[in-house]
């Protein structure tokens, strides 16, 4: 599902070049769950961003669901993300002007017209649900928010916002889900409930999961863990 080869990322800052990821190679099979752990600044988020096609590596390559990312333009990568990728962010990243339901619908609404516009070949692999609205409502019900569909992010608690973002991540039936510290802004109890949802949905839908976290308990729930330090992989083991 995900194949990373000799990935290096260097930022050219005013203070000189800064290499945040060095020669990382890894492969994740479909349906696997992978935790990426490591101290702050070890390159976890950079690795996640590169794997999801949010940025371009300095050297090395990433193949996502068979598509070689460096051969794609930014817009083609956007189409690929819309079709095959789901995201859960540490700070939820809901669009403040949209209701919970509308937030969840965004990936589907982006998709209408996408096929007409461009990505026939790219975005065709993922199945679009027959009725997006039903799917979105069902997902919000699944995460326990069926009574909050019309609420705006400001009117929701942190845990509720993160559950909306989880529903949004699954609404396009992604092949792979990237989670960046999904429980970083939540209390323990809420975090526990949230992760039960993540893994539950993951199992139900057979999604591949890449999870960046500080939390060792969370990492243990994954089938495999890699540890980064100073931008390089220092440990890679399966449960």
């Amino acid at each position: 599902m995900l194949k990373v080869e000799r990935l290096t990322k260097t930022y050219f800052t005013a203070a000189g070049p800064l290499t945040v990821l060095k020669d990382v190679t890894l492969e994740v099979a479909a349906g696997d769950t992978l935790a990426v752990v490591g101290p702050s600044g070890s390159g976890k988020t950079t690795l996640l961003g590169l794997c999801a096609g949010l940025d371009e590596p300095t050297t090395g390559s990433v193949a996502l669901n068979g598509a070689n990312l460096e051969r794609l333009s930014e817009d083609e990568r956007a189409l690929l993300r819309n079709a095959d990728v789901g995201f859960v962010f540490q700070n939820f990243q809901l669009i403040p002007t949209l209701t919970a339901l509308e937030n969840v619908l965004v990936p589907l609404e982006l998709r209408t017209g996408l096929r007409r516009n461009a990505g026939e070949g790219l975005a065709s692999s993922s199945a679009v649900p027959g009725d997006g609205l039903t799917e979105a409502r069902a997902l919000l019900e699944r995460v326990g928010l069926s009574d909050r569909l019309g609420h705006y992010p400001l009117q929701l608690s942190g845990g509720e916002q993160q559950r909306v973002s989880l529903a949004r991540a699954f609404v396009n039936r992604p092949k792979i889900l990237f989670c960046d510290e999904p429980t970083g802004n939540l209390d323990d109890e809420t975090a526990q409930a949230m992760m039960d949802l993540v893994f539950g949905l993951n199992r139900e839908r057979g999604t591949t999961l890449v999870l960046v976290t500080h939390n060792p308990d969370l990492a243990r729930r994954c089938s495999r863990t890699i540890r980064l330090r100073g931008g390089a992989v220092v440990d890679d083991h399966s449960a």
Binding site: E74, A78, F87, L94, T97, L98, V106, P107, L154, D180
Partner: protein
């Protein structure tokens, strides 16, 4: 609905009020363009519908001499209906008002003029009585000024006429004529009794014609021009009037449109600046959209739709307001219009104004929107991401180029000449540049030299001017530009009036008598002496025309006119003087002035005013032969002079040396100085009683007339400047509201730290006061600069900006700024801190 439209609509939810406010910035600019355009179309329609009343006849033939012989016979033989008019300036005496006098345009008339349209008089039809009996029709303003009633007598020269009615309007002339010189109509056959038309009198003879429909007037005029070239006749036709009026209207319209366009540009800059802050606040949303699979183009399109929507809204509101303002325009322009303008909606003008508004708004909105294309989806993961993204976008330069081109294009279109369009665009760029530069400099200086001892609220208020995302320069530019435009107008008006008034402060003459005949000179001198106002200046005037210029007869020259050489300068009647030395209002710029020649000199050395020399394309040594009432006199340009025309004195284009013209028929201009208006009135009455043909001009009257004209012009310019100034206020309100979230957070923080609501408000007061002061200061500086340029290069008067005027401008603009700022920030202190802190999580 497509994703883009749906997203644009939904995303605007929280900020619709703000977006509407942004759109208000362009409303006034669009309104100005629509109002002017629609008014222009109304006027054009009126001119087309009422074209014949523009002249009141099919043809008017004007001559400076009484037509005799072949020309008269030919004109008489043309047939149709004819009316004749003899016009000149003279003093009118009001015997029932203690013998008071006033200079007026006397028109002795015979025949059924106007042939088209109606002369408006009170009582109606008074002009018709001219043919019936010996009565006069007097300009309404003159009747009002002296409190005259119908039936009262007036004296013109040596004849007395009862007033038949008051003249309000007559076809063929704009109401503004009354402002310059009030008119008095007399029967032509009574002209003789006045004894006013004598040798050397400046008289205009005019014949009006009405032909049967289908008559080709233009062809006739071509024929007449060719046939009577030597007679220097003037021909006026309806078509000619339409062309002239069209040109004037075009010029006025270009000027007004350019002012409207400035308001629009200012508004568009306001929109762009507000959108920039808006886009910055939307970066997180854009990054998420990009993560979820929106392409750069689609995320860009979402906000482009919002920009277009607000442009469309602003343009539509502007069009509505413009149509409302259009109703006010005829009132503003009434005194300048020769036709009654109907009011109707010109859809072409509406489309033009809205199109310009939408186009300019879109171009400027694209500037901040461009950055959306470069928002990386990584920003959803990391807020600070993006430092290594190059700041400048090549497309941005393309946009700057497009904006420059469109400003130039619009100005070109408005002014019909690319040089003027370029001039306007460059002048505008320079003004913006200077305003921005001065604003930055003042801001920098204010920051650098803030005294540490200032109370805290003032230091904090000043510091707010440099907060990140501040709108300081924008506000300074928009408010400054408004101040600059309005103040330049006022300063120029004050300078000109002061120049004329200034001449009463010293020893210069302030009362002129002209048309004094040779044999009346001693008598007039004695009267003035007796009245306590001895003669200050006495200039003989001899009328003449140019017959040969540099060896070529004028007829030949005017047939194939050299480019740049004015036909008027060739054909006009010259009123020249002779004297032995230069007057104090002139100096020689080339050659040497000759004061006296011995009688019988073959070629007389004369002195020519430099502007006229340029017009005639003559240099030192060139020969000119003048026809002095039938006698040819050969002259040579001996010197060129610069003349201060605005000095209240008899000034001359051509000055002869003594010893040549003494024997020619002549009359005199006599200048004196009076101490009061009562003395002036008494002297005028005494002179006019003794010599009815002599006319007087009082400086006070000139001042009055000037002031009246300025007031009318100022009304128009103020009306337009209002659009610019109000746009400045709206842009400011928009900018204050754009930074509101930041301001609310600041005030919450301050209040959490223990600041009282009053302190927070005083900080804002400090901020807006400084902003207003800097803006009005910058605008005033520029206005003083523009005033200097105008005074120095255009009006050639003294530079003396009124400190009082500057003070009033600074105080007024600062007050408006503070009030607008405080009103727009109203409620910023009402948010509970907790609510704001929660928003941050």
């Amino acid at each position: 609905m497509s994703f883009v439209l749906k997203m644009a609509w939904r995303d605007s939810r929280a900020s619709r009020r703000r977006l509407v406010l942004f759109s208000l910035s362009i409303v006034l600019g669009v309104a100005a363009l629509v109002a002017i355009g629609s008014f222009r179309d109304n006027l054009r329609q009126a001119v087309a519908d009422q074209s014949k009343t523009l002249l009141g006849a099919d043809l008017a033939v004007t001559s400076r001499q009484k037509l005799t012989g072949e020309a008269r016979a030919f004109l008489d033989g043309l047939g149709g209906e004819q009316a004749r008019e003899v016009a000149f300036s003279s003093m009118i005496v009001f015997p029932t008002r203690g013998g008071q006098t006033r200079i007026a345009q006397v028109r002795a008339m015979e025949g059924g003029f106007p042939f088209y349209g109606e002369a408006v008089t009170v009582p109606a039809g008074a002009l018709k009585q001219l043919d019936a009996g010996d009565a006069a029709v007097v300009e309404d303003t003159l009747m009002t000024q002296f409190g005259l009633q119908v039936g009262e007598p007036i004296r013109v020269g040596e004849a007395t006429f009862p007033i038949a009615g008051a003249l309000q309007k007559i076809p063929g002339e704009s109401p503004a004529v009354a402002m310059l010189a009030p008119r008095v109509y007399l029967p032509l056959r009574a002209l003789e009794q006045t004894h006013l038309v004598q040798t050397g009198s400046l008289v205009r003879y005019r014949t009006y014609f009405k032909f049967s429909s289908g008559f080709d007037v233009e062809a006739l005029v071509r024929n007449l021009r060719e046939r009577f070239r030597g007679l220097q006749l003037g021909f006026d036709t309806v078509e000619q009037r339409k062309r002239d009026l069209g040109r004037v209207l075009d010029n006025v319209e270009s000027f007004l449109n350019l002012v409207g366009f400035i308001a629009l540009l200012l508004g568009a800059i306001g929109v762009a600046s507000a959108m920039q802050v808006y886009v910055q606040q939307k970066v997180a949303t854009i990054a998420v959209l990009r993560c979820l699979g929106a392409t750069a183009r689609r995320s860009f399109a979402v906000y482009l739709c919002q920009g277009l929507g607000l442009g469309l809204l602003g343009a539509a509101m502007g069009a509505l307001l413009g149509l409302a303002a259009q109703l006010a325009l005829p009132a503003v322009f009434r005194s300048f219009l020769p036709v009654d303008a109907p009011v109707f909606i010109s859809w072409q003008a509406v489309a033009g104004g809205m199109g310009a508004g939408l186009g300019v708004c879109l171009l400027f909105t694209l500037l901040p929107l461009m950055s959306i294309r470069r928002v990386s989806p990584l920003r959803a993961l990391r807020a600070g991401y993006g430092e290594d993204v190059p700041k400048r976008d090549p497309l941005q330069w393309v946009l700057y180029g497009l904006i420059g081109m469109s400003v130039f294009g619009c100005a070109w279109w408005q002014t019909n000449r690319w040089q003027r369009g370029l001039g306007f665009a460059l002048a505008l760029a320079a003004t913006f540049g200077v305003l921005t530069g001065v604003a930055r400099l003042l801001t920098w200086a204010a920051r650098r030299w803030v005294p540490r001892r200032l109370p805290y609220v003032w230091r904090q208020g000043l510091a707010n001017l440099y907060r990140p995302n501040n709108r300081t320069v924008l506000l300074l530019v928009s408010l400054g530009l408004g101040t600059f435009l309005v103040l330049t107008l006022y300063l120029t008006r004050a300078s000109l009036l002061a120049e004329f008034r200034g001449s009463t402060g010293d020893d210069r003459p302030n009362l002129l008598f002209f048309d004094v005949q040779d044999d009346q000179l001693a008598g007039v001198d004695a009267l003035l002496q007796a009245g306590g106002a001895p003669v200050r200046q006495e200039a003989p005037i001899v009328t003449m025309r140019i017959s040969v210029l540099k060896g070529r007869p004028v007829e030949e020259l005017s047939r194939d006119r050299a480019p740049g050489r004015g036909g008027w300068a060739l054909r006009r009647e010259y009123r020249c003087t002779y004297r032995g030395r230069l007057a104090e209002t002139e100096r020689v710029v080339a050659g040497s002035f000759v004061g006296r020649v011995s009688p019988g000199t073959d070629v007389v050395p004369i002195s020519v005013e430099q502007g006229l020399a340029k017009e005639l394309q003559v240099q030192i040594g060139d020969e000119i032969t003048f026809d002095v009432q039938g006698v040819p006199i050969r002259t040579r340009v001996g010197s060129l002079r610069a003349v201060e025309w605005q000095r209240m004195q008899a000034n001359f284009f051509v000055v002869f040396p003594e010893g040549v013209l003494e024997a020619a028929p002549k009359f005199f201009v006599v200048a004196t100085r009076v101490g009061s208006s009562a003395q002036s009135a008494a002297l005028q009455q005494a002179v006019v009683r003794a010599y009815p043909n002599v006319s007087a001009i009082d400086l006070g009257l000139v001042l009055q007339t000037l002031d009246a004209i300025f007031t009318k012009v100022a009304l128009v310019v103020q009306f337009m400047a209002l659009f610019v100034a109000l746009t400045g206020v709206i842009v400011m309100a928009g900018a204050v509201l754009t930074g509101r979230f930041q301001r609310v957070r600041e005030s919450v923080l301050l209040r959490t730290l223990g600041a009282t609501r009053r302190q927070v408000q005083r900080i804002m007061l400090a901020e807006y006061s400084v902003l207003g002061l800097l803006a009005s200061g910058t605008g005033s500086l520029l206005a003083v600069g523009a005033n200097w340029l105008l005074v120095h290069f255009v009006f050639e008067t003294r530079f003396a900006p009124s400190p009082l005027l500057l003070l009033v401008a600074v105080v007024a603009v600062t007050t408006v700024t503070v009030v607008t700022g405080l009103l727009a920030s109203r409620g910023d202190c009402d948010h509970p801190p907790l609510e704001v802190l929660r928003q941050e999580t």
